[in-house]
């Protein structure tokens, strides 16, 4: 879908949010 819209510099984050949290980096709480 992103490609169809012309975005070519699209990169998935390896390990996703779990890897970010496991690395001890800060997170924000989402509002309800």
């Amino acid at each position: 879908m992103l490609i169809d819209r012309g975005y070519t510099e699209v990169r998935p984050l390896a390990g996703g949010l779990d890897a970010w949290v496991d690395a001890g980096y800060p997170v924000e709480e989402l509002a309800e």
Binding site: T8, R11, P12, L13, L17, Y25, L30
Partner: protein, 269 residues
């Protein structure tokens, strides 16, 4: 192939049970050929359809229940691990959750007909803390429909299956080579598709360390949190500055004013 038929005739129901259990627990030994052949043999009166079906359903429910309990114990991490070893890890968790979001427990009724979803659905149900009773009911019905369809296909096409088996039997080891090559080709095709997709996007995945560095340097990439609503409800945290976009419409709306040359980093769980 002859050995498979001989083994089905000799061990019958226990073999069906073992094959279905191993497949559902995640070992790539397809149970459908065994069920179809068992169905064809049942039509010829050499096996009991009822016992074949009962053993398949029981084996399937036991294996799924184990995954369900693992999902309940370890949450969505077990799902991420399962998806990481699949051929489409980036879409696996998200697609599975999308099915569940759309269909709820009813998705267990057709889960077994969708490659990959079959093994991932039970731990997801466990991670979502659905009731064990409800899970077992839906899973048993889904297993019955899946195994029943294979056995019914075997019964319906027993003549054609008999001829096909005879031909494969005549080919001897060449039949094994042919089937193994076919499976290898499918796996290679999936890998090629994946490599081509990555190449097209010019991506090597970005590591969390790289992303942190980019944010610290003020490069401010567009970070998209594309987790499903269910996933967001489970974990109400996000990477700072990430834009939450749980559906295609939300992604489109959030990117409306972002130029296509802008780097985008997206993440799920």
């Amino acid at each position: 192939m002859h050995r498979l038929i001989a083994a089905i005739l000799r061990h019958g129901v226990p073999l069906v049970f073992a094959n279905v259990f191993l497949e559902q627990i995640g070992i790539p030994i397809p149970a459908i050929p065994t069920l179809v052949i068992a169905g064809a043999l049942a039509r010829d009166g050499q096996l009991s359809s009822t016992y074949v079906l009962a053993s398949a359903v029981i084996a399937s429910v036991i294996a799924d229940w184990i995954w369900f309990l693992l999902g309940r114990r370890y949450g969505h991490r077990i799902l991420s691990t399962l998806c990481r070893i699949s051929l489409s890890p980036d879409s696996c968790v998200r697609e599975t959750e999308s099915y569940f979001e759309r269909w709820g427990m009813k998705s267990l009724l057709f889960a077994k007909f969708i490659p990959g979803f079959s093994t991932v659905a039970p731990p997801l149900a466990g991670a979502m803390k659905v009731s064990t009773f409800q899970f077992l009911i839906f899973d048993a019905i889904g297993s019955f429909v899946w195994a029943g369809a294979a056995v019914a296909a075997g019964r319906a096409f027993h003549h054609a299956i008999g001829k096909l088996l005879k031909r494969l039997e005549d080919l001897g080891w060449w039949a094994v080579v042919f089937i193994a090559s076919l499976i290898a080709l499918v796996i290679l095709f999936k890998w090629w598709q994946r490599l081509r997709f990555y190449k097209k996007l010019r991506i090597a995945r970005v590591s969390v360390e790289d992303l942190k560095g980019m944010i610290d340097r003020g490069e401010s990439p567009i970070v998209l949190d594309v987790r499903t609503r269910a996933s967001l409800r489970r974990d109400m945290r996000r990477i700072p500055t990430a834009i939450v976009a749980s559906s295609a419409e939300e992604v489109a709306s959030q990117l409306e004013h972002i130029p296509p040359a802008n780097p985008i980093i997206l993440y799920c769980t």
